[in-house]
Amino acid sequence: MIEVEALTKRYGAFTAVRNLSFSVRPGEVLGLVGPNGAGKTSTLRCLSGVIPASAGSIRIAGHDLAADPVAAKRALAFFPDEPRLFEYLTVRQHLAFVARIYGVARYEELARPLLEELELVEKADVLPGELSRGMKQKLVIACGLLHSPSVIFFDEPLTGLDPLGIRRMKDSIMRRARDGASIVLSSHLLHLLEEICTHVLILKKGDKVADGTIAEVAAQFSNGEAGVNLEEVFIRATGGSET
């Protein structure tokens, strides 16, 4: 469960996100879309506690992120747009490290299927420097999912993955949602979002333009037309010139 109330993020005098409110219930997948610089990454970084919000409140799985950050963070996982790994830890050691941080008692039982699912078994004793970008991303995901988070944030999870990887990623996200996780992901791949997401939130220059299920948002911008796809909605909502 994610509840966001009047979230505002300022960088100095510049406001990147303004007065944003929404909530994501267990089992829902919210797609965060918007043009470059709309504030998607800023929002996700605030939600996951990487940077403090300038104003507003964020509740993760019932814990207020500002008041009780440790409890809130125990329930969440955040995947930044660039895979970030520790230079001198092998794939397996990454998992051991993360397990200790989150106190995942029997992590080895969890790690093996995760590694198999992500096809990293052969690379288990290799340093990140020898992994390809896609593999790094997979390792980051394995680390993030080790503690079975109930709230997951993805920033552009699909870039850099091969077609099979994208398919796997999609399946994995939808399975986590079915298991009761609340998920927020940002992406520019709108046709993929249409498949994964139950809800969308359109941001433009830090403001919320639309929010709701895909059908609701489509209806809002369809002007009575039928079968308007998300791409068309996106362009209309963010004031693209083609209309």
Binding site: V70, A72, Y88, R100
Partner: protein, 596 residues
């Protein structure tokens, strides 16, 4: 062609300055720069206020100390240069070609530029830094400079020294590159070069020792005696010729007046020209090697950008087993200790550092041998002890003040991963604690060794009545328990600087020279010292007070124990405050706002 390269250098320099000046709008950088400028201003004021060097005869006392100081500078720098060159031969870098930046390689190497122009570009780039350093040196080491006290001449003197060294090092690298290219006998050549250097060092040491034993110096602490001894030593027959190259290079710098300067310039410039000829005539082989190198690098870079695996065969660190088995249960701080020890092993314990360490030991023992022999002759056992204690103190001081700069497997190393660290369900202070554990542990080990050795080396015969073994053990235990806290505090400082001024911190990590770097390092060092003082002062005061008031009542041992209990309490509370503050800052820290 050189025009375009010069343009690149100058525009980059200008944009850098514009960028740096723009950053001063952030108050913390403004304050930092103001401090640096104030320091420089202060130092320059002092230096400029000092009267120019009077003729040696008119102020003999000053001249003596100046002469000794300068002899030390010249000998010290020569030794450093020799070590650096020897090191280049012992452990040549994987890529022994000249250093170019990534962008320079990407743009210049595929460009239709002759390799000769590239070498010139490299030499020219170095000249910016060298010129700057020369001017700086002329001011800072003015106290010992001769050249008639003329700063401009001194700067030129420094320029000669630094340029010669830069050329020599580049020549060495190019020669190494050529030898490596030929592949056959690379090791043999290197062994021969190293042997030659070793022989040279031995010859110098032997001839110095021969002179010293032939006309043993009196009390060297007296300036007059030193004034007699040092020129005599440097002028003694084999040594005089052995150190000729160094004497030529340092000639202009150490000239006593304008006329001597002019005379000394002639051989110095000749030496420089010889070096220049060496570097630019090695060019032919640099050509092939550098094309291959450039291609390899560009290919590797492109591959990395595509996300491909790097080509096999490039030497990369290998995965290693953890320092201890990490169970998934327990305090998370230990996970950071485990991780950082692992990365320490991979990044600090490699062939290069091992060789460097061996080399240092070799040099130190070479220097110490005559000293030891002297002490053995005087037949004072405790002198050995004092020597050991002195060495331990030096090592301990280095560990406390330089150690934190070398053992940086803490928050500083994890700077790129700050985003990830902040999503961990751990309070800021616990995260900071965990991150600092590994370097603290390593530095503490070194300190403990020093404490242990020096405590039992003092007064081995037990002549001082009060120094019973009980007292010794107490001292070891007390100092030993304070050591980790001291290391910890010293490590908090650079981490705090990183969290406060990440842009500076990152800049100082990248290689480079110039005032920026100099100023920053200066501030870092000053901050480190000041904070060490600030931390140690309350503890020391409390300890002194307690020791002197209780010593009469309970005796030395218990008084020491009581005093150190006080010290520990003070240090621990200071460490706690520092840790809490660091954690709090780290929670507020956002790298992305800093790189703007």
């Amino acid at each position: 062609m050189i025009g375009a390269l010069l343009y690149l250098r100058l525009t980059s320099l200008r944009n850098l300055v514009v960028f740096r000046v723009g950053r001063l709008r952030q108050p913390k950088y403004l304050v930092g720069t103001a401090v640096a400028i104030a320091y420089f201003y202060f130092v320059l004021q002092q230096r400029l206020a000092m009267p120019g060097a009077p003729a040696a005869a008119s102020a003999p006392a000053i001249a003596d100390t100046r002469m000794i100081g300068m002899a030390f500078i010249c000998v010290g720098l020569s030794a450093l240069a020799l070590i650096r060159v020897a090191f280049a031969w012992i452990a040549p870098a994987e890529k022994p070609a000249l250093r170019f930046s990534e962008a320079e390689i990407a743009f210049l190497f595929p460009a239709p530029i002759t390799r000769r122009a590239l070498i010139h570009f490299r030499l020219l780039s170095a000249q910016f830094a060298i010129l700057f350093t020369s001017v700086l040196m002329a001011f800072f080491f003015n106290r010992f400079g001769y050249a008639g006290g003329n700063r401009a001449l001194q700067a030129v003197g420094w320029w000669v020294v630094l340029s010669t060294f830069d050329l020599h090092l580049n020549g060495t690298k190019l020669t190494l590159a050529r030898l490596r290219e030929k592949a056959s006998g690379f090791l043999l050549w290197r062994a021969a070069a190293v042997a030659a250097i070793a022989l040279y060092v031995l010859a110098v040491a032997w001839s110095a020792a021969a002179f010293a034993s032939a006309s043993p110096p009196g009390n060297l602490a007296g300036a007059r005696e030193a004034e007699r001894f040092i020129p005599g030593l440097l002028g003694s027959s084999p040594l005089h010729w052995l150190i000729l190259p160094f004497r030529i290079a340092f000639g202009p710098y150490s000239a006593a007046g304008a006329r001597e300067f002019g005379v000394a310039m002639i051989p110095a410039l000749l030496l420089l020209a010889l070096h220049y000829y060496w570097v630019s005539s090695t060019e032919a082989s640099f050509e092939e090697g550098s094309i291959a190198l450039a291609e390899k690098r560009t290919a590797a870079k492109a591959a990395a950008q595509r996300g491909d695996l790097p080509a096999a065969g490039s030497s990369r660190p290998k995965g290693r087993a953890g320092p201890f088995p990490l169970s998934p249960r327990g305090p998370p701080e230990i996970a950071f200790l485990w991780k950082n020890l692992l990365s320490m092993r991979s990044s600090l314990l490699n062939r290069r550092t091992a060789l460097l360490f061996l080399w240092i030991i070799l040099c130190v023992s070479l220097v110490l041998r005559p000293l030891l022999a002297e002490y053995a002759r005087s037949n004072r056992a405790e002198a050995y002890g004092l020597l050991v204690v002195a060495l331990c103190c030096i090592v301990a001081a280095y560990t406390l003040f330089v150690g934190p700069q070398i053992a940086r497997q803490d928050l500083r190393n994890d700077l790129p991963n700050a985003d990830i660290l902040k999503t961990y369900p751990i309070e800021g202070w616990r995260l900071a604690l965990g991150e600092l554990l590994a370097p603290t542990a390593v530095l503490s080990l070194v300190l403990w060794f020093c404490i242990l050795v020096s405590t039992f080396a003092v007064d081995p015969k037990g002549e001082a009545g009060w120094l019973t073994s009980g007292v010794r053990v107490t001292i070891v235990v007390c100092l030993g328990s304070a050591a980790p806290l001291l290391c910890f505090m010293q490590l908090i400082v650079p981490n705090a600087i990183m969290v406060l001024l990440p842009a500076w911190y990152q800049a100082s990590r990248s290689r480079g020279a110039g005032i920026e770097m100099f100023g920053q390092r200066l501030i870092f060092t000053i901050a480190q010292f000041l904070l060490a003082l600030l931390v140690a002062l309350p503890a020391a005061c409390a300890a002194a007070l307690i020791f002197f008031s209780f010593q009469w009542v309970f005796g030395v041992g218990p008084a020491i124990a009581l005093a150190s209990a006080a010290v520990l309490t003070v240090l621990a509370s200071e460490a706690a405050v520092g840790l809490w503050w660091l954690g709090w800052r780290f929670e507020k820290f956002d790298l992305s706002t800093e790189s703007k």
